[in-house]
């Protein structure tokens, strides 16, 4: 289940990983930029995601990115989250060089035309409406993040705090963002599939070698102070039934306690056999559904409990029922069978994920961005070796009332 790879770094700081899989006739080129919504400032929220759209607006020598790629049999897409913006291209391996040409050109000299800036502003506003406003429960994380965080940019979702911010981006904002974040020293490139490391080395030098490193420093990200008392918010909306969100601050990706928090939600909330599902849904009458998971962010994030109530049941009552399950969990020991179940699942997830070449490329890029691609394997091994008493110590540290924020998302007139 290890992913084989070779690694090298260009003089301008671009980190390149090559994962050879000669069973494949296609190649994946995955470029991760170390920029996400955590690098935004109030009033300009959503800029990282909006910028992702602009990256498809053409560069100096390839005015139509998609068409140039499709002409050689390729396709592409991208996503943005709190921490990264990740672009990927899939194409016949024989045409690998085209991906290098296109990706290097948009890293080096993106066009940023008026037409692209204005049209993509409209498109992103429609995306915002389609996914977050015109959907029942679509804006829950706008509220939850805003409640839980005071300082840190995790306070707003990647799409942006509100549409006004998107309306307000100026050309200077966009240009500054490009110059600050879209440089070889702020990126990781993974090339995977039917490719040879020596070819990738030659092509990387040829196409990316001359792109200068960034001269613009990144802004410092304000960090959150420890929360000292419980926060509560009630929202009313046109939805069929109440929903409950209860979140707790937890450590960031590379910090102590992160893997333990991940295990806590696996134990308490993963799968149909989990204690949450069994006691609150299958043998309870308040919850129609329930879940527990972590937002796996680089900076300290959130451990989330969420659920929808059966009709006529209130979110406030649901919180009491949830609290009881959490309290019982805190006073218990993790049984051996439960621990081995969770570890089996972690192992199987890796197997399922690694079936697709693209997933392997993304995993390598993600862990390389955290500091070392080896972490893909070592953090998994570390997670499966954590003893149960250590999980419970962290559970008692994180799952404290004063560390929580609760949102009752209530059905109007319900």
């Amino acid at each position: 289940m290890m992913i084989n790879y070779q690694k090298f770094v260009l003089n301008n700081g671009l980190e390149v990983l090559v994962h050879e899989d000669h069973s494949s006739k296609i190649a994946v080129v995955n470029i991760l930029y170390k920029v996400g919504s955590r690098n935004e400032i109030p009033g300009k929220t959503g800029l990282a995601h909006y910028f992702e759209h602009l990256m498809f607006g053409g560069s100096k020598n390839a005015p139509v990115f998609d068409a140039a790629l499709e002409r050689v049999g390729g396709s592409c897409n991208a996503f943005t989250n709190t921490d990264i913006t990740n672009y990927y291209v899939t194409l016949p391996a024989v045409n690998l060089e085209t991906a290098f040409w296109l990706e290097s050109d948009r890293m080096f000299q993106l066009s940023l035309t008026e037409k692209t800036i204005e049209t993509q502003r409209k498109v992103v506003i429609e995306e915002y409406k389609q996914r977050y406003l015109n959907q029942p429960y679509g804006d829950v994380f706008h509220h939850v993040r805003d409640l839980a965080f005071d300082q840190h940019p995790n306070k707003w979702p990647t799409i942006g705090k509100d549409i006004d911010d998107i309306v307000g981006y100026r050309k200077e904002d966009v240009e500054e963002f490009y110059l600050t974040h879209y440089s070889p020293d702020n990126a990781v490139m993974v090339v995977a599939g039917g490719v040879k490391t020596e070819d990738v080395k030659r092509l990387a030098e040829k196409w990316f070698g001359e792109i200068p490193s960034s001269k613009f420093p990144k802004k410092t990200i304000p960090q959150e102070l420890p929360q000292t008392s419980k926060k509560v918010k009630t929202v009313e909306a046109e939805v069929p039934t109440d929903a409950l969100y209860k979140v707790y601050h937890m450590p960031g990706k590379m910090q102590d306690g992160y893997l333990e928090a991940d295990l806590i939600t696996d134990i308490i909330g993963f799968g149909r056999s989990s204690v949450l599902e069994q006691s609150l849904v299958k043998n309870g009458h308040i919850f129609a559904s329930v879940g527990a998971y972590i937002l796996g962010t680089v900076d300290p994030g959130l451990l989330v409990f969420s659920g929808k109530m059966e009709k006529g049941q209130s979110a406030e009552n649901a919180e009491k029922a949830l609290d009881k399950v959490v309290k019982d969990f805190l006073q218990s020991q993790v049984e051996e069978e439960v621990l081995s179940k969770v570890k089996n699942q972690a192992e199987a997830m890796k197997t399922y994920e690694s079936v697709q070449l693209l997933n392997r490329a993304m995993s390598l890029a993600y862990y390389a961005h955290l500091g070392d691609a080896e972490l893909y394997q070592t953090s998994y091994e570390k997670k499966t070796k954590i003893p149960s008493h250590q999980i419970m110590e962290w559970a008692n540290t994180i799952l404290k009332e004063e560390n929580s924020s609760v949102m009752y998302y209530k059905a109007k007139g319900g």
Partner: protein
Amino acid sequence: MILDRTVAPEFQIPEQVNFPSPIKKTLQNGVSLYFMATPEIGAVKLEINADSNRVTGIVEKKLVSYFTLHLLMEGTKSKSSADLDTFFDTYASEVEVISNFEHNGLGLLTTKKHFNTVLPVFRELMTEAIFPEKELAKRKSQKALSISIQREQNGNRASHLFRQELFGEEHPFGQISDEQDVEAISREDLVSFYSEKLWVNPEVFLAGNLSEEEVEKVCEILGDLPTISFESKNPDFVNLPKPRLEERKESALQSSLRVGCHLIPKNHPDYFGLWVFNVFLGGYFGSRLIKNIREDKGHTYGIYSSIGSLKNADYWVVMADVIKEHTETVIDEIYHEVKRLQEEPIPIEEIEIVRNYLIGNLLSNFSSSFDLISRFKSIHQAGLDFGFYEKQLEYIKTFKPEDIQAIGKKYLLKENMVEVIVG
């Protein structure tokens, strides 16, 4: 040497794509099993698909097959609901319900490591389920809630109404379920459907790193499944002129659009032409619809046209969520783009792009061995085999633009279109 970035690198278009066929086995009960070996992959995928009651013509309450399939994990003769949950979670195995227009069934995703342990319990679900009242009551209240949420989701609502208009509300494909349909379900309905009407003409699809013996074991374990043999009559539909259906919502910020009609079967001589026509129009990111409605006008986050697969004749649908006040403009532009593609010469550059994109896409779709079984399943269920993709590749390489234009003109007629707007 200074790099000249103005010149795009040379490229080649692959001539060949490999379409390896699965191994076929016939089980003792006559069921066919198709196996695709994937030596380098640690995951195993097993699916059993039966003809759905929506094509067997057996009249049932609307949600009987839904609840029957979803209750299989809620208890068998030897294991309680909680036992089953713990068992499958412990072995990190996912049981999935398959329920689409033409098929009902179960899927299992597991690892090679646990496959032999999990298989017998997966087999139990097919014949030993007991349908406990308590679990049924919970499932019913969950389903009623999800129906009420889906009704509020404009995209879902529009898709449901589109199916109703296209297939007719009398036909099972066109029916929309509501809370009363949930209420009407009783345990007896499920028990009788399970024992008498579920496993109609089943077939098995398997992929994984499995030895000869392991495949034999699957054949043996599934070989005693009692099956029902039935001459299923997949329906034929005709395009009927219908007025536009609108469900306006004061509070909505966007409108969900669906425009479409019935097409022709996959074995029809015009099929590939129509399929390519759809790609130009709205079937990929560089399509006419995306360029016009999204990249030029910014009226939507996404607009696509696609071909839905059915055994006797596929259907066509354009989908988009658009700015409310531009709804009419977008519908006009859809027809305008159809007409333009039918009538005006297609630029040579665009033809080259579509040709090469489609070849690359086919290569990519067949590049992961684990996905091959699903590709095979979908074409096999349409009554065809991988020869279909060979012909498709040949067509992509050689089609003449005038041909696809003539074909588009023949089948995509404005007067045949069903139009639905929600929001």
